[in-house]
Each structure stands twice: as C-alpha cells, then as structure tokens.
Subunit: 245 residues, 4 copies
C-alpha cells in the first residue's frame, strides 16, 4: 500500500480490514516520517513489520534505520526464498541479544539516539504528539487562508508531520520551491510521481516549535508573492492567531 | 558617552566635534553589538580605542574580546597611572608581533573566528551590512504596524543590530518578555536603567536571515496578544510585504 | 575467498590466476580495512567489485559503505536473479549521475568524507601508505621482541592496517584483551572463527602516528605482564629504536 | 612567591609561616596547573585568593578563569586603591548571587565545565589525584632511567601535573622540543626565564592515562635519540614496569 505525502494512513482500520477478510498478508508500515510525531501502536495494531529512520521525528542526522517485527514476520522471513538483505534479521537478532551487532554499527548516531530518546521522554510522548498536531493544524489554517488546496482532503487523514499543498492550475510548484530556496535558503519537499510540479510539501516535525513554523510559513508566503502565484495574503497571520489563542 | 540601546551613534560627527574644539580626549567606541553589522571605520574616523567581542556580528560564542587602538591611545596607556588591565596592551602587542600570546588564549574561539571571517568575506562585507540594514528596516515596519514606539526617534541613528521598543504606558515590558520566553522559548533583551520595564529589545544581527526574523517577529506578535498589550495586528504581515517586494 | 586478519591479499596475483584460467568469476575485494592504508588499484587489477567503508583508513565514524564496480559486474547485476540489495546498484547509479541519491544519504558523514579526503590528499597518498607501512613494521618488530608469533607468516602478505598476534599455547588471548580493556581502556580486536581465544589483533591505521602506536604497544606490553603471558620484555623499546633510526 | 615549574608548593607550611609571624599579607595561590590534579584546600589552608583556569585539570579548552577569595581578601579589595580589574570582584559577586553575570559569560565553556565536573566526581576526586600521582611517578622513573635530572630536587615538592627536566650541559632543550614537535607532532613546555633552553617540561594532567603517558614518554625518548642528547635508554621501559606492577 502506497502512502500519499501529507496524509496519515488509518492503520487500525487497515488492520481491521485484513482481519475481517482473514487475509494472510503481512502488514508492513513505513513510519519514517511519522514515528515520534503521532500515536503509533506496533503491537496493538498487530503490525508485522514497522520500518523507521533516524532523520525525522527522532531529530537525528540520517544514517540509522529501524525495524520492528511480529513473530509472524520473523517466521515468514525464515522460510522466505527471497534474499533481500533488509528482511534478513536473523543475524541481527542473535547478536543484539548479546548486546552487540553483527556488523559495525553507526556508533555516533547510537549515542545521538540515546540523547534524542531522553529529550522525547523528558517532554513526554503525548506532549510531543500534541505539539506536532497543533503545528500541523496551524499550517493547514495558513494554507486555507492562502486559498490553496491541501492535498489531503479527509480530515481523518491529516498528517502531523507534513502538509502537501497544491499550487493553482498552471502554477509550477517546483518553480515556487526554487524561488524560496534561492531567496530564503529554505528547501521544501517536492511532489513525487504524478503530482510532480503540482505540489509542494511543508514539513513540520521533529525539533520544531511555533517560531520555526512561523519562519517556515513566512518563507512560503513570501515565495508565493515573489513567484506570482495567485493567493490570498494572511496565511501567516491566521496561523499566528490560532497559535496565540 | 553612553550609548542608547537600539541606536547607532553618529561617530564621524562626534569625531568632527572633538576635532573642532581641539579637545585632547581619547575617542573610544564600543562596537560589541555593531561590528560586522554596519559600516565602521576605525582609522578614517580616528577612533582611539575600539572594543569589540566575538558573540554578536562575528557569530561566535562569547569569550573573545578585541581592542584596536591608535598611536595616541598607545602612548596614553604607557604614561597612564591607572592599572586597569583592559588598557594594559604592551605585553600583548610585544607577544603578538612574534605570533604568540602572553597568556593562554581561548584557542577554540580563535579557530572559530577564522571560520567566521571566512564566512563574512565570502558573503562580502557590503552585503552583510545591507542584509542587516534590510532586516532592521523590516523590524521597524513591524513595530510601526503594531502601533508601538521605537525608542530611537532619529532615523539617522536607527540601528542595524537591535531595535528597542517601548511598551504602552502601564504595560510591563518585562512581563511580555517572560510570556514570550515561557511560551515560545525566545529570549528578548530587557530595558536597562531608567527604561527598565518599559522597553524590550529585538536583536537582528549575525547569522540571521528573513526567516529567522519572521520567526522572531511572530514570537513578539503572539506575545503581545497573550500578554494583552494593546497593539494593532499585522506587524509580521507588514514586514513580510516589505521583505518580498 | 576469505581474508585472514592481519594479512594483505596478493590481489594482482589473484587477478593473474583468474585471467590465466580464463575463469568467468567476478573478482570482488573487501577493502574495508585497507583502503587508504596501502596501494590499491581497482582499475589496473581489473577488480569487478570493491567494497569499502568509512570507519578505517578514511578516519570517519562508521556509517558509510562504498562500492566500485566494473562494467562486467554491472552487467552481471542487471541479469542476476538474486535480489540482494547490496548488489542492486541501478537506482543509485541513475540518481548519482544527477548529483543526488535515491534514498536519504547520511549527509553528515558525506561532509566528513570531504574533509577526510582533503586531509589524505594534503598528506599525499604515497606518504599515507608509507606512514602505515612504517608503523606496521614497528609493530611486527615489537611482536618479535616479545617472542610472540605473527599470524601472518609470509612477509609478502604483511598488513599495513592490522597485525594478528598468536598468544602462546594455553594462554587465552581473550583474557589478555579483557585485562587490557579493563586496566588501560584499550580495546584490541579478537580472533574470529577457529583462532578465537588464540589471537589478538593490533590495529594501526587511519589517524595514527608514532606516539599513538607507542601508546598502543605499551598497553599490549603491560597487558602481557599483568595477564602473566610468557614473553620477553622490550617490545616497545625495539619499536621505538626502529622508529627513531 | 614565584612557583617553579614542575614543583608543588608546600602551601600549608607557607600558611603556617605566615601565621607564625602574624604577617598581615594576603595569601594568594595560583592553581591553574594543579586544580583537580592534587589535594587543594582553599578553606583549610586559609588561602585568601585562589586563581585557576579551565584548560588544565578541568580538561576544558582555555577561556574560563576562576577566583575563590576569603573574607579578608574581599575586604582588602574593597578598600584597595588599585583598579586592577582582576581583583574587582564586587560586581561579579552581586550578580552571581542572583544567578547571573555582570558581563556576557563564555556560556559554551560553562556547559563544558558542568560536564567536566560530572566526569571528575564520577571518577572520584581521590581517584583523580591518585591517577595523577601515579603517572607523575612513572614520569620521574623514566627521567631517572634516562639519566636526566628532574629540576625538582625535593620529593616533598614533586608535581602531579608537570615534570621539568634538565638537559645535560651544552644540550639545547629548545632544539629537543623542536625535533619532537617536528617529528612526532608533540609540543612540550619550554623552560622560562633563567632556565630557558636548559629545561623542557612534560605535562601529565587532565584527561590522561597510562597509554597517553606511554605515548608522551616514547616521544621524549625518541626525541632524545634523534637530537643526539646523551642519555641512557630504557626510560619508557622503566615507566611501563612501574605502571604494570
């Protein structure tokens, strides 16, 4: 199942659907852009394989990947004929039990991970999720005020991590991104696949607060003006009103 | 001569006044908050002693202090009866000529200084000054739009580094600063001396660009609302308009 | 072909042997512990796949892996039925040509790599190799003086990076390693596989000079004494004599 | 009172002598090179002014200076006519009581100081002193074995931090230091004042252990050989024997 940028998959419902049809498929979830940004329940949702990375909600440089797997996934990997390295966990599990790694791990990032987890637990995971949710809502309020369209139409699927915004017809989203990068040194996400050139993505996750969001939205608003993309002013203003209520 | 926060002294005019009266006083200038933020001409303005520090326009942690002095100041220091260590340059000068220091220098910051100077020269000093001037102007535009008063009334003395803002009568500037620190983790400068509690200072210098300014002004605007300080909305908006023209 | 620890494979001879028999096998070389420690000629020796990593001769933290491959290897990978991710280069090659990566790269280490390459080229690769060769020879001189046996018996295969040393019969090499770690905070490599407990490895590569080697050998010599392993004194002494000749 | 390099002043005896004669002088001690290297009792020894710095036993970069003072020193500073800034504590004391500084402090080093103190207390101060004492003794054993003379002749005054070594008559200690710096990238302390060119100093303090000492002594021993300074071999050897007993 392919994730849309700027949406949150309804994972427990997907789990329910798999269960209802008693389908034997393994349930794999990519949480690279969402772990530590919103509720996630690997065990309760009976996810078979969760993958994640260090560089988003965990606030680290890129370089670490994580896997969590169910008993069912472990068994499947042992009987699988595929040799895809990413799903060859046996050696890692055996070594990890003894507190070591089968290969040289990225030790510096492991020290960083320890600090990141300390920071997250000090803030409290529920507070971390609420902070992301609030900043995401402020972003959507700005997008609405600009009169632009959020690619995610279903409020139940709004993302805490990232908001994908459609530029008006005929307006090149990648040109907007270039203008903003050039003028304000801010790099926004591009639209991938069939929304290439039609969508830009605003990330709002990790080590992020009201003022970093305000700076981000200000860069978008000034970029819209400079790139002459039709929009209403006042997006930043609307977000600030929400955030100071 | 005491500097007001948020103002730029008219140094060449002061020099002129000293010259006109043929007054023998040494001319000392504190550039801690202004070096690498606006034009400064130690030699041309015949400044006798310039003092500066690492932690503002030079974008380094605090820890280094700098002195530049005229021949006249050097001679005065040699004949002076005062033992104030800060003006005892002889040992430093003798050692510096041989490429060393008389005491253990803060070596790490000297490495940082080398990098900082490389960054400044790569951007070009005129560009650095212009960037500061532009962000300072955007700040004043925001202050005007909020209907608040800039402590600096003379446009010829506007500061590229810092804008001191008066809160309306009866509104405690230090309470505003506390609210902003508490809610948005941003620390604004306080009013010193007789403007204590009446003024807050917005710094806009060093490694600073349009988006960091937008974040800063957004924090002030949200703080004004939360601290219930009478003001007009739209300060951030006005600054963004100026910055994207 | 399995590498012995503490030996250098005679790669050009292996290449010659493959050529002589006109064997179609791909020639793969693991240079993780040797790149930037000794001469290596991927092209001239017609190596098909070279693998390497950041954490040894390149003086970086672990976290980057490198592949160099011949046209023959590329073609083989395209027609191979295996899905082993490590040999699936196509996507990487296509993206690298455009200056980007198909997945999020470990950016921090790439900045580090740029610095490491600058350091290596500033020293000069031939000087880097010579430095490794000299320190490796000093290590062997110490091992000889201790009356211990170098696992590598063939001088043509001595390693610039690492010397594997046999402990006398009945002396547990892993106990020695524990004593040294506990007393002197130095972690030596263990013997793997059938030499487990019989061999310890002394690394002498990367950001390493005469004095770091002297500290290393001193730790081994004191460890031998503390662990009561029969040996002659004077290993460090002999190494120092060689290094100061 | 002027300190000799490589000696420890008998501070409690000096205190005793001052007391005996009921001399009114303030007792000032420079602990820059000794704090956290050996016992020091500011209160018990009734020291009036202790000065120290960040860059030695505290294992930090240079940049912080410390003062501790007695009530008597405080009173003296208030009535003193001298304006020497280093002894003008009043403003600092008043601000420190409120948890702040009168001037911008070197904040980065203060964070480092917190970590350094954590490290020292984790090891235990008595262990830290014992470690220094043991490494200092090993250094003197090496110096003896080389047949060189320790400038400090009185065992009661041996220093835990630094050993000053006399080169034989006619042998330039500064040439030796140059050879060692050039060949092994190790910078030894020079002789100051009347022992210039006759003495070199070996530091053995701070974040230092057996193997860093072994590397240091090895550099000296190889340097002695390369600079053709008459000496007996075996200094490192003797130190290692002592350290592994």
């Amino acid at each position: 199942m392919k994730l849309q940028p700027g949406t949150t998959s309804r994972l427990s419902e997907i789990r329910g659907a798999i269960d209802e049809t008693a389908h034997p498929a393994l349930f794999m979830v990519d949480t690279i852009s969402s772990l530590a940004c919103c509720e996630y329940e690997h065990d309760q949702w009976k996810v078979d394989v969760t993958i994640s990375g260090s560089q988003k909600g965990l606030m680290l440089p890129p370089g670490l990947g994580f896997n969590a797997m169910s008993q069912k996934a472990l068994e499947a990997s042992q009987s699988a004929s595929s040799q895809v390295s990413y799903w060859s966990w046996q050696e890692m599990i055996e070594n990890n039990e003894k507190g070591v790694f089968p290969y040289t791990p990225a030790t510096n990032l492991l020290y960083g991970l320890k600090e990141a987890l300390t920071l997250l637990h000090r803030e409290g995971l529920q507070n971390v999720y609420y902070r992301h949710q609030r900043l995401a809502k402020a972003t959507r309020i700005a997008v609405d005020a600009w009169g632009l369209e959020n690619m995610c139409l279903n409020p139940a699927e709004y993302s805490n991590s990232c908001t994908a915004v459609l530029t008006p017809k005929g307006c090149d989203a990648d040109h907007l991104r270039e203008v903003i990068l050039e003028k304000f040194n801010m790099s926004l996400g591009t639209g991938l696949g069939k929304v290439k050139g039609k969508v830009f993505r605003i990330g709002h996750l990790g080590d992020f607060n009201e003022l970093s969001l305000a700076g981000t939205l200000s860069g978008v608003e000034m970029g819209l003006r400079l790139a002459k993309i039709p929009h209403s002013q006042g997006g930043v203003n609307a977000a600030l009103e929400f955030l100071s209520d």
